[in-house]
Symmetry: C2
Subunit: 200 residues, 2 copies
Amino acid sequence: MTITGASGRPRDPEVDRRITEAAVALFGRAGWAGFNLEAVARAAGVGKASIYLRWRTKELLLAEALGSGLLDVADTDSGTLRGDLVELAHQLLALYMGPSRQAALRMAAEAPTIPEVAQRWDALRESQALAARAIVRRGIRRGEIPAGTSVTLLLDTLCGGVVMHVSSTPAHLQERLAADLDDYAERLVDFLMRAVLTTS
Amino acid sequence: MTITGASGRPRDPEVDRRITEAAVALFGRAGWAGFNLEAVARAAGVGKASIYLRWRTKELLLAEALGSGLLDVADTDSGTLRGDLVELAHQLLALYMGPSRQAALRMAAEAPTIPEVAQRWDALRESQALAARAIVRRGIRRGEIPAGTSVTLLLDTLCGGVVMHVSSTPAHLQERLAADLDDYAERLVDFLMRAVLTTS
């Protein structure tokens, strides 16, 4: 299937990518108050018409940009719960250490107040939550962790722990943090696996 | 000591409180892009001169408002590590469920880019982190948890878990969430205590 724009002409995926990347970066810098299609076009090096061919409004552009890259947390099945959780921690660490960091933080504060974007944000977070829950449920089915494991507690502390670790590290320690990410993801998962595997 | 404004007249703490509350609420709604002293004065029901008597710039007002209320996480010594951690979880839950929620989320995204506020934000977070670390260190000194406990992992997962739990709950479940907060704080702490008390 060829993706076509409103004009019916085939869309150039490379132009799409440049526009959505520029949209995410601008939103991260300026928030919704500073988000406008002129600035996105300029940063992407395209004409405004190229954007309007693809997205009728800035709400629709930002809603779609959200899905492509900003919140891509995929469920990969590595065969073990520990492996899957380490991979999930890695994906979140990459999101909050990478170029989308500012946009992700702003989105947490602003998404509920932006029309179109609010629904997309809710849907994305729900599908992420389902993917994360699927990881834990597989672990239970494989007998790796007890059937009574609290999926909510395990995922709150894993995902929240990652975000807190990255966002509470002061600027002058970010470089050391980046070098230590692999190690941190493994220590975090091992720590939480002990909580899950110990019956109270 | 009497607190005096720039005019040398004693300041009315009730007016101070109204202004800083209005400042936090406006910042939460509109972010830095929409933050201005006219709107703060209107919302607080005071004249703009009352604000200028106290704060020369909007940066200084927001920086001070941050400290009074928005980020008040106090270190209380309940006598046990479990009690102290439950209290810490409660304070964070109250912050992210209460009227300061929007401002706290926006601050995480925007503080680093606002002059004056950035330094104050860093200092506040550092003093919070020190208070939280003091709680865990007391637990180690009292022999409640092993000396080798990772303070970072315990606090990342406790504080991050709270924030994730509150912010990942969709709007239509917020009421149920509020009713369940006490219970959640205790289950979260017990879960993490198991991780800490189990040697790998």
